[in-house]
């Protein structure tokens, strides 16, 4: 019996036209661990997050593989039981704090709703819990924030609220879907530090989706590098940066802009590397047989 918090084995998903968007993805997140999922846009990072949370778009179908959340195979559960399990054990820190809060409801009820309705807490207990979390994300005037509508808060404040909401129900696993991308650079750093701090204190496992290797280095212990829906490399974060094995990973690291040499022009990923990747993907597609014909 594996002790992994999240264990994805050999997961493949296809579009309606039969094209594979996730190619036999395997990755595991151990309890209390942060695993980064890096790749360029369109690599399928967000798709994996959505698959875990059970909110894939209707055009994407999982055709093989399994996802185990604390040992329970999500694919084998009845839809209702699956929803309940995912609702109780996971949470999402979304990419865009602007659209992730309902504009016509005040922050307070939006945050307590889930604790009261899904976990069956009393209103008082939920309120106390939310205030405690708001304090943890360094919001100093919880009364005002709880009474506000989302548009009355800044982007950084909204993201803090969402982080507090994600940790409030003590989930085992949080999927953070590029939580800093939509924020401006100075706020990004604070938010990242907050997530890392809460993660340590609460011991929550995080699947951290990002395209930013700088973020990966700061927050994660393990990394999976994704290209075109395929995991091309998987390693401890320190090992990955010290000795990247795959040519694509090396190219990605080389492409990261550096403060130490601001005048150096940005390097795109090398053509030869991309050609190699294309060949690798083609070979994988050749070898792959969709289950049931």
């Amino acid at each position: 019996m594996s002790a992994a918090c999240l264990d994805i084995r050999n997961l493949s998903a296809v579009l309606a036209n039969g094209q594979r968007v996730l190619r036999s993805v395997s990755l595991a997140v151990q309890p209390g661990e942060v695993r980064a999922l890096v790749g360029e846009s369109g690599a399928g990072k967000t798709m994996i997050g959505k698959a875990v949370l059970g909110v894939l778009p209707s055009s994407v179908h999982i055709v093989e593989g399994e996802m185990l959340l604390e040992g329970e195979d999500l694919g084998r559960l009845q839809p209702k039981a699956r929803r309940t399990l995912i609702g109780a054990r996971t949470a999402l820190i979304p990419q865009d704090p602007l659209t992730a809060l309902n504009p016509s409801r005040r922050i307070g009820p939006q945050m307590t709703d889930r604790l009261v309705r899904i976990l069956g807490w009393s209103g008082q207990r939920a309120d106390a819990r939310i205030r405690q979390l708001l304090d943890e994300v360094q919001i100093r005037d919880p009364d005002r924030v709880l009474r506000s509508y989302p548009h009355e808060l800044s982007g950084g404040m909204r993201q803090r609220v969402l982080i507090a909401a994600a940790f409030a129900a003590e989930p085992r696993l949080i999927v953070a879907d590029e939580p800093t991308t939509a924020l401006d650079v100075t706020v990004q750093k604070q938010i990242l530090r907050l997530i890392a701090q809460l993660q340590r204190e609460h011991g929550t496992a995080i699947l951290f989706v990002t395209h930013d290797l700088g973020v990966v280095a700061k927050i994660s212990q393990k990394v999976s590098v994704l290209y075109a829906g395929k995991v091309v490399e998987e390693a401890d974060t320190a090992a990955l940066f010290a000795a990247p094995q795959h040519a694509y990973t090396r190219a990605l690291i080389a492409a990261t802009p550096r403060y130490t040499d601001p005048l150096a022009s940005l390097k795109p990923v090398d053509e030869a590397v991309l050609a190699g990747l294309a060949a690798e993907i083609a070979a994988a597609e050749q070898a792959w047989r969709p289950p049931h014909g």
């Binding site: 909110v55 609702g87 996971t90 979304p94 309902n102 504009p103 016509s104 409801r105 899904i118 509508y149």
Partner: protein, 282 residues
């Protein structure tokens, strides 16, 4: 709603003018027996075609003049308002309930529900509305409830189409996805996350629809298909005024002004309410 916030921003001239006229007309209609200077049905051939108060030959107590049967025009307009407002409220609310519910279901659930409801709306809208109304009243028989039913049956599609589109946009929002992850049921999400965001549109459409209902009622009573009794209606007065336009223009002009002001006020009131209900615009 937050009273302090409203007070700070003031009501705005649009809401004040539109609301003022509607309130005046509504109160006059409710208390018609008390405020109307004359009996709206009393005929007096000695007083036929009296002009309004500022013209030569006017009689005190007949402020807006009389029609060709000597009935007081102001009193008839006030009593006609009763029919207009009853139809406006009842028909618009009925159309709103049916249309918004179906629109919300079609937009939020999508798939088969959406396909079926949208096809029905398409078929419905292929009929010219006024002809449809006349046909319905001809089948149902004249009378207040027939007029209300006819308007509701025709105009629910207005609500359905708009609310469907808005609910559809809502389902793509991250907070709806978040609610699904949290494990809410679909109905719960629809009512808690989607509905509050379409309420401003529903309110605006509702007010607009009341104006439309007033017009349709006037059209039906103009062609004598509204209520069957002798009670005055705005459309009926317009029809009578049209016959005596050369001798007594006021019998046509005053009900027209009343009708236009009321319809305009309803639509402006709706717009202003929408802005007020929307927390982002507020």
């Amino acid at each position: 709603m937050d009273e302090a916030r409203i007070a700070r921003r003031g009501l705005g001239p649009r809401l004040r003018l539109a609301g003022g006229w509607l309130l005046l007309a509504l109160l006059a209609a409710i208390f018609a027996p008390l405020v109307a200077p004359q009996d709206p049905l009393a005929q007096d051939l000695m007083l036929e075609r009296l002009p309004p108060f500022w013209m030569n030959g006017a009689e005190p107590g007949y402020w807006l003049g009389t029609d060709s049967l000597g009935r007081d025009l102001l009193s008839r307009l006030i009593f006609g308002g009763r029919v207009a407002f009853v139809v406006a409220f009842a028909a618009a609310i009925a159309a709103c309930l049916v249309g918004s519910t179906l629109g919300l279901i079609a937009g939020y659930f999508g798939g088969w529900a959406d396909r079926i409801i949208s096809r029905i709306v398409d078929i419905w809208m292929a009929f010219p509305p006024v002809l449809f109304a006349i046909l319905l009243v001809a089948v149902l028989g004249t009378g207040l409830s027939s007029v209300i039913i006819a308007i509701a049956v025709i105009d629910w599609t207005r609500f359905c189409r708009v609310i469907r589109a808005e609910a559809m946009g809502q389902t793509r929002m991250d907070y709806v996805e978040n609610a699904r992850i949290a494990g809410y049921g679909r109905i719960g999400i629809m009512l808690r996350e989607v509905l509050p965001n379409v309420v401003p549109s529903i309110v605006a459409l509702l007010s607009l629809e009341m104006g439309i209902a007033v017009i349709v009622e006037a059209i039906l009573s103009f062609v004598n298909l509204s209520i069957s009794t002798d009670d005055p209606t705005w459309g009926g007065i317009i029809a009578e005024g049209r016959l005596s336009i050369h001798q007594a223009w006021w019998v046509l002009v005053f009900p027209l002004i009343t009708l236009i002001l009321t319809v305009l006020s309803f639509s402006q009131f709706g717009e202003a309410l929408k802005a007020r209900f929307d927390p982002v615009l507020r």
